[in-house]
């Protein structure tokens, strides 16, 4: 099982994720239409680019936008979870060692163990708040459907199994295998579910950024105060 998951299934899920998202990215930008969207994308590439970068960048900064500041608790939970969800899979030392072995390269740097531990705990606590929010707030509850819970479950699983393996609760090799499996489920799910936002967040934010950068004030010289 372990060798299957770390061998063919790993290559398959990583391949599906990367190729899937390249396809989806291509489809997204190919499907933008200046006349239907009413944004002259190609006429003002520089303004569009600036608007897109600004729109992405501003929203990546904790409390960097009116939106984040309007909901400070949500913003804390959001960043608490997402910082871990992005950094841990990419830069955990164990992951990098694994990558080096499987693909012959590793990514830029390794998180030190205490940092990784902090990030993991913060992510888990944040997830708890995000779940609580979904259960308690009427404006979130009305939107929540089964798929949302499915996505939460899929995203939580690698964290929980990873932590159990990390602290060697019970059978280490069982949790490790479960961690690899749940991680690969995430990779497979990315192109086909809402998890596509991992990449499409950038596409969607870029589009709205171009809209403001070109049409809604950009050409007037005013930048949207996100």
């Amino acid at each position: 099982m372990y060798s299957l998951l770390t061998g063919p299934v790993f290559y398959l899920s990583l391949g599906v994720c990367i190729i899937g998202m390249i396809v989806r990215f291509y489809q997204y930008f190919n499907g933008l239409s200046w006349q239907l969207d009413r944004v002259a994308y190609k006429e003002y590439p520089a303004m569009g680019f600036k608007g897109a970068v600004r729109s992405i960048y501003k929203w990546l900064i904790p409390y960097g936008t009116y939106g984040w500041r309007a909901q400070p608790v949500m913003a804390a939970a959001f960043f608490g979870f997402h910082v871990g969800a992005v950094l841990l899979p990419l830069f955990l030392i164990g992951h990098n060692v694994f990558l080096k072995e499987k693909l012959g390269f590793s990514l830029f740097f390794n998180l030190s163990t205490p940092v990784a531990d902090y990030l993991s705990w913060i992510a888990l606590i944040s997830l708890f708040f995000l779940i609580l929010r979904r259960l308690v707030l009427p404006e979130v509850r009305i939107l929540t459907d089964r798929k949302d819970w499915g996505i939460l479950l899929i995203s939580m699983a690698p964290f929980i199994t990873g932590m159990l393996a990390r602290y060697q609760v019970g059978d280490y090799s069982f949790w490790l295998t479960a961690h690899i499996l749940t991680g690969e489920i995430v990779l497979l799910a990315i192109p086909f579910t809402k998890l596509s936002h991992v990449f499409l967040f950038f596409a969607s934010r870029a589009q709205l950024g171009m809209d403001f950068g070109i049409k809604r004030g950009g050409l007037k010289g005013s930048k949207m105060a996100w």
């Binding site: 489809q27 997204y28 930008f29 190919n30 499907g31 933008l32 239409s33 200046w34 006349q35 239907l36 969207d37 009413r38 944004v39 002259a40 006429e43 003002y44 729109s55 929203w59 009116y66 939106g67 984040w68 309007a70 909901q71 949500m74 959001f78 929010r133 707030l137 009427p138 404006e139 979130v140 509850r141 009305i142 939107l143 929540t144 459907d145 949302d148 809402k194 596509s196 936002h197 499409l200 967040f201 596409a203 969607s204 934010r205 589009q207 709205l208 950024g209 809209d211 070109i214 049409k215 809604r216 004030g217 950009g218 050409l219 007037k220 010289g221 005013s222 949207m224 105060a225 996100w226």
Partner: protein, 463 residues
């Protein structure tokens, strides 16, 4: 009865058609017929496949259902935080559902969708600026309105309004002759006070081509005179086109895209015919959005811009004050608490956040201007945008929607609300009527005229 005689999928294209619809008081028969209007699911699905591309589909797909848009929506706030008013819910349960069911929705669903599209969203686009994913629900509601219009599920006044544009190239039944006559008559009325005041019609190569809101000609003709007076005093070389003078677009509110194109084409034709240096539109928000911001796309202009540089009235006014073309008598500046209503359509959606404030710096005694909170791009809709003001069928909902603006104004303590937008002006007038908070409201033109220093050579001769 699949198609009614009044309520059907056909746009109104004749003056008789408009008269017939208007004769149906408050659209009583029209809405009765709508209850049995059939949905053409094949057409609906085909239209979606042809026009709903990756932007909207991705928005609907990646919406994280996080609810962060809730507080951004004034209608959610005005309706005591009713979860059914959360923007994401409103769009997912209408457009999202239509797409999920591949267009197979029934009459009841469409009636509900119509209410959501016109009475639960004013397309103010505020939620779009509060969504981490950059999902602009207002844009999607604009799109949904188009689908609903095509199927005949459109409020009575909107159907009439779109028809007016098709028949008269104006939002009201005013012909070119009526318009010019009214303008000339108003100018004559003020000629004694402003010697030499004229309305130059169809002058080629002028510096300014001025366009208006048809209701100015129909209901507020003083506004036309005021525009003429201000250009006259500023010494502008201006003109009005006898055709293509209407800046507004109820067709945009209705989602009648073909009529939107016809309307802006008429204005762009005037620009091409008269070759002015600039087009200046009156103090209206949606009209600016329709003709200057969205119009080029309906007209198929790849540049995304009208044929000549087109600016909002407040941009001209700010410039005229800045350059000294218009001079304010400091003694006559406003000396009472005053606030400003930012129009979503040209502030949030066209970046003119400082322009009106610059004007205020000239016309309000320092210390008397109090900004609303939030303001500028983050200001709330007046409560009556997107056609909401004009729909009798949804008047109750609109009046509830006004509460947020009412409270914003009350919090400033202002006695006067400057509102350089027809829709906002109407909404604020109505909120005073409904809630009686003791405020006045005004466009900029009449305020400025009262405090202008008139150059000696333009003054009437003393008798």
């Amino acid at each position: 009865m699949p198609e009614g005689t009044l309520c059907n999928k056909k746009p109104v294209e004749t003056a008789e058609g408009i008269t017939t619809l208007l004769a149906d008081q408050s659209g009583k028969t029209y809405y009765e017929e709508m209850k049995s209007l059939e949905v053409d699911s094949d057409l609906l699905w085909k239209t979606i496949q042809n026009t709903c591309k990756t932007r909207i589909r991705t928005w609907l797909e990646i919406c994280a259902h996080c609810g962060m848009c809730a507080d951004s929506c004034f209608l959610y706030l005005a309706n005591d935080r009713d979860p059914k008013q959360v923007p994401a819910f409103k769009i997912q349960s209408t457009l999202g559902e239509i797409i999920k069911r591949k267009g197979k929705v029934d009459n009841k669903f469409m009636l509900h969708a119509m209410e959501v599209a016109w009475a639960q969203c004013t397309c103010c686009n505020r939620c779009g600026t509060y969504c981490p994913h950059g999902i602009d629900t207002g844009i999607m509601f604009g799109y949904l309105r188009g689908l609903l219009y095509q199927q005949g599920f459109v409020p009575w006044e909107m159907k009439i309004g779109a028809g007016m544009h098709r028949v008269y190239n104006a939002q009201m039944d005013i012909t070119s002759e009526d318009y010019i006559d009214t303008f000339e008559w108003m100018v004559e009325e003020y000629e004694d006070d402003y010697p030499g005041l004229t309305v130059p019609v169809d002058v080629e190569d002028a510096d300014i081509m001025y366009t208006v809101n048809a209701r100015e000609a129909k209901h507020y003709p003083e506004d036309l005179a005021e525009a003429a007076i201000l250009y006259h005093i500023a010494g502008e070389k201006w003109t009005v086109p006898s055709k293509g003078w209407e800046l507004t677009s109820l067709a945009m509110f209705a989602g009648d895209w073909a009529a939107c194109k016809m309307q802006v084409d008429s204005v762009y034709d005037a620009m091409e015919r008269l070759r002015p240096k600039r087009m200046i539109g009156t103090e209206c928000g949606h009209a600016h959005r329709a003709t200057v911001v969205e119009g080029p796309y309906w007209a198929g202009r790849k540049s995304g811009r009208p044929p000549v540089e087109s600016i909002h009235y407040i941009e001209w006014l700010a410039e005229a004050l800045r350059t000294g073309k218009l001079k304010i008598d400091p003694a006559k500046r406003i000396k009472e608490p005053v606030t400003l209503q930012d129009s979503c359509n040209y502030v949030r959606n066209h970046g003119l956040r400082e322009t009106a404030r610059e004007i205020i710096s000239y016309i309000v005694e320092p210390g008397y201007f109090i900004d609303m909170a939030p303001n500028k791009e983050h200001n709330f809709c007046c409560g009556g945008g997107g056609g909401f003001n004009g729909i009798g069928y949804f008047r109750k909902q609109r009046n509830i929607g006004l509460k947020v603006k009412r409270d914003q104004i009350l919090a400033t303590g202002a006695k006067l609300v400057i509102s350089p937008c027809h829709n906002c002006w109407d909404a604020i007038r109505d909120l005073e009527e409904v809630y009686e908070i003791g405020i006045k409201w005004s466009f900029l033109k009449p305020l400025i005229i009262k405090m202008l220093i008139i150059p000696e050579h333009l003054r009437p001769e003393e008798e």
